[in-house]
């Protein structure tokens, strides 16, 4: 049942700026199937978030368009729930109330009060947050906030789950933990997921396909990598898996060779510039997970 579920055709967008219009995206084409997990990866400022926002309906494409199950997307809606980078929980509501706001909005008139309560608690349970559901965001940790953000998105029963660097602001351990949770949830619910990430390991571990984007302006889809690793995937077993490392190196080579970001530095000789690049990112290469700044 490989039917096209979500389709981006010739998507381009221009933003007006004081210096004239700025073309962020050009001719982005992408077909996504039901239940597929797709990652968008690319350097900062390449327009990954813009793609996601267009799918979410928060931005309007200047040309081209997005079809979801054959219908054009032109405004935001709960069937395309977004997990925001900074959790975006309402700070004056408890975890439960944050999810409740979404559930009340989406299932108004469809679920009874008791059913809603059950559904809210069920979603909080999915992300293992029932123990702190009556705490406000400032009383729980960053990872927990992101869990609640995911629960809120899942509670809308979205056709497509959009995640904008959902684990970007978390420490490595919490991130790994949440990635495992996400894989579990996705296995159960079989949602279609589009996730933006900076993290090469995260992309390979979670995705069915990795969409690598070229640098902006006028960014577009550079390469698409199919990740044919069997699920469930285990991060420890995969660490020494040659296939996994092959995928990983393909993404890295795209990012650091084909699409190396030309940083505006002091003009130096070409021989020097490779050195400065290496120097400028000692942390990234030192970390276990390679990030693209």
């Amino acid at each position: 049942m490989n039917r096209t579920h979500l389709e981006l055709t010739g998507v381009g967008i221009e933003f007006p700026t004081p210096k004239g219009s700025f073309r962020a995206l050009q001719n982005v084409n992408l077909k996504i199937e039901q239940g597929e997990f797709v990652s968008l990866i690319g350097h900062s400022g390449c327009g990954k978030s813009t793609v996601l926002n267009i799918v979410a309906g928060l931005h309007q494409a200047t040309e081209g368009g997005v079809l979801l199950n054959g219908r054009e997307v032109n405004e935001p809606g709960p069937e395309r729930a977004v997990v925001f980078q900074n959790h975006s929980l309402l700070p004056w509501l408890t975890s439960y109330q944050n999810v409740e706001l979404a559930v009340k909005q989406v299932f108004k008139g469809q679920k009874s009060k008791a059913e809603m309560k059950e559904w809210i608690e069920h979603n909080l349970e999915l992300v293992h947050m029932t123990h702190a559901m009556h705490k406000r965001p400032d009383e729980i940790s960053g990872g927990m906030k992101q869990r609640v953000g995911i629960a809120r998105a899942l509670a809308m029963e979205p056709t497509v789950l959009l995640m904008d660097e959902p684990f970007g602001a978390l420490d490595a351990l919490t991130r790994a933990h949440l990635q495992d949770s996400l894989m579990e949830i996705q296995k159960d619910l079989n949602n279609t997921v589009i996730m933006i990430t900076h993290d090469v390991d995260e992309a390979v571990l979670l995705s069915d396909r990795i969409v690598m984007m070229t640098n902006g302006p006028a960014a577009t889809v550079g390469e698409i990598l199919h990740v044919d690793l069997e699920r469930p995937r285990d991060r420890l077993a995969l660490a020494d898996d040659p296939q996994y490392n092959h995928y990983r190196s393909q993404v890295l080579s795209f990012l650091y060779e084909k699409q190396r970001k030309v940083e505006p530095m002091s003009p130096k000789k070409k021989a020097d510039s490779s050195k400065t690049v290496a120097k400028s990112s000692p942390n990234e290469t030192g970390k276990k997970s390679v990030e693209v700044a």
């Binding site: 928060l58 709960p78 729930a81 309402l90 700070p91 004056w92």
Partner: protein, 334 residues
């Protein structure tokens, strides 16, 4: 050395030490909190009582703290006497009416209000009611308007010049206009409230609504884009968006505006009452000034202190309401 052993050994001693220290700290902190303002007050009273006799006016010496205190006592006595007179008046009237009804059962008793001069404390009451009425009306206008303006940047751009134009207008400039308009428009045989009350109240409203309006608009306009996106994705309707997201998010700014507004309202009211001869503390001050007796300056000084004290209490009350209304109980409010 094994740190865990040394820790358990020292634990009892340490807790005792911290307990003692915290007690001592609390004591010294309280002493500091109390003593410094007290010293400040004493120094002020000293300078006042030394400087006052050197200032000689046509109404005698400028009153020192002692004279002001005795004037305050005088005002209290005056108030009590006036109340006693009032009670006596009503008792007499009741008795008279009862007598006449007893003589002639068809007689319909007339009840007249006591028409004695309002005392200092009556004037305080009048002023408080006026300021709260004016401030409430200002709030009812400014908060909804601020939300609407803050949500729409074209509206904000359109309204901003007007706000900036009217904000710095002195109450004394509004007063003649308000007085004339009220006299012309508010015509009623059986008025619910007096014209003077309405004039003072509207002047207070006109002058005090601006800080709330501006702060609400700015607070609403500063809602993080993330939260607006949440609202968009959920397709919240306008009212739900305002209630669930806009209001809680802008509450700190709204209250900053409300506190500024209340402060201005109180200052404006006293000036308006003085100028328009409308009942209230301002009129008390003006009457004493016109009266020109040897006790006038002392009585005005009492009014000055009371006005300051009430202004302070109004601000504290607002702060308490803000604490109650704010979702973020950890925020430091001062």
């Amino acid at each position: 050395m094994n740190p865990s052993i040394s820790q358990t050994k020292s634990a009892g001693w340490l807790s005792k030490f911290t307990q003692d220290r915290s007690l001592a700290e609390i004591f010294s902190q309280t002493a500091k909190n109390l003593s410094l303002p007290l010293i400040g007050m004493l120094v002020f009273l000293m300078i006042w009582s030394m400087a006052a006799p050197r200032v000689v006016t046509s109404l005698g010496q400028f009153p020192g703290p002692a004279q002001v205190w005795s004037q305050l006592e005088g005002l209290v006595v005056e108030h009590q006497e006036s109340r006693a007179k009032e009670t006596a008046f009503y008792e007499r009237q009741e008795k008279r009416n009862a007598d006449r009804v007893a003589k002639d059962p068809t007689y319909v008793p007339k009840i007249r209000d006591y028409t004695g001069k309002p005392t200092f404390f009556d004037q305080i009451g009048t002023s408080l009611i006026t300021v709260l009425a004016g401030f409430s009306v200002a709030t009812l206008i400014a908060v909804p308007l601020g939300i609407v303006i803050g949500l729409s940047s074209p509206l904000y751009t359109a309204a901003n010049p007007l706000i900036q134009l009217f904000k710095p207008v002195s109450p004394l400039a509004w007063l003649p206009l308000v007085t004339m308009v009220v006299s012309a428009v508010y015509v009623s045989d059986d008025p619910l409230v007096s014209k003077s009350f309405l004039t003072s109240m509207i002047t207070v409203t006109l002058c005090s609504l601006w800080p709330t309006l501006i702060n609400t608009a700015v607070g609403v306009a500063a809602i993080p884009q993330d939260l607006k996106n949440v609202s968009h994705v959920l397709r919240l309707n306008w009212l739900t968006h305002v209630i669930k997201i806009v209001l809680p998010s802008s509450i700190p700014m709204v209250f900053t505006g409300l506190r500024l507004s209340l402060g201005i309202a109180w200052m404006v009211l006293i000036a308006a009452e003085m100028l328009a001869q409308n009942p209230g503390l301002g009129k008390f001050v003006w009457d004493e000034f016109q009266n020109g007796s040897s006790s006038s300056l002392g009585r005005i000084m009492v009014a000055v202190i009371v006005i300051g004290l009430i202004g302070y209490l109004l601000d504290r009350t607002m702060l308490l309401i803000q604490r109650w209304a704010s979702w973020d109980k950890t925020a430091v409010l001062r």
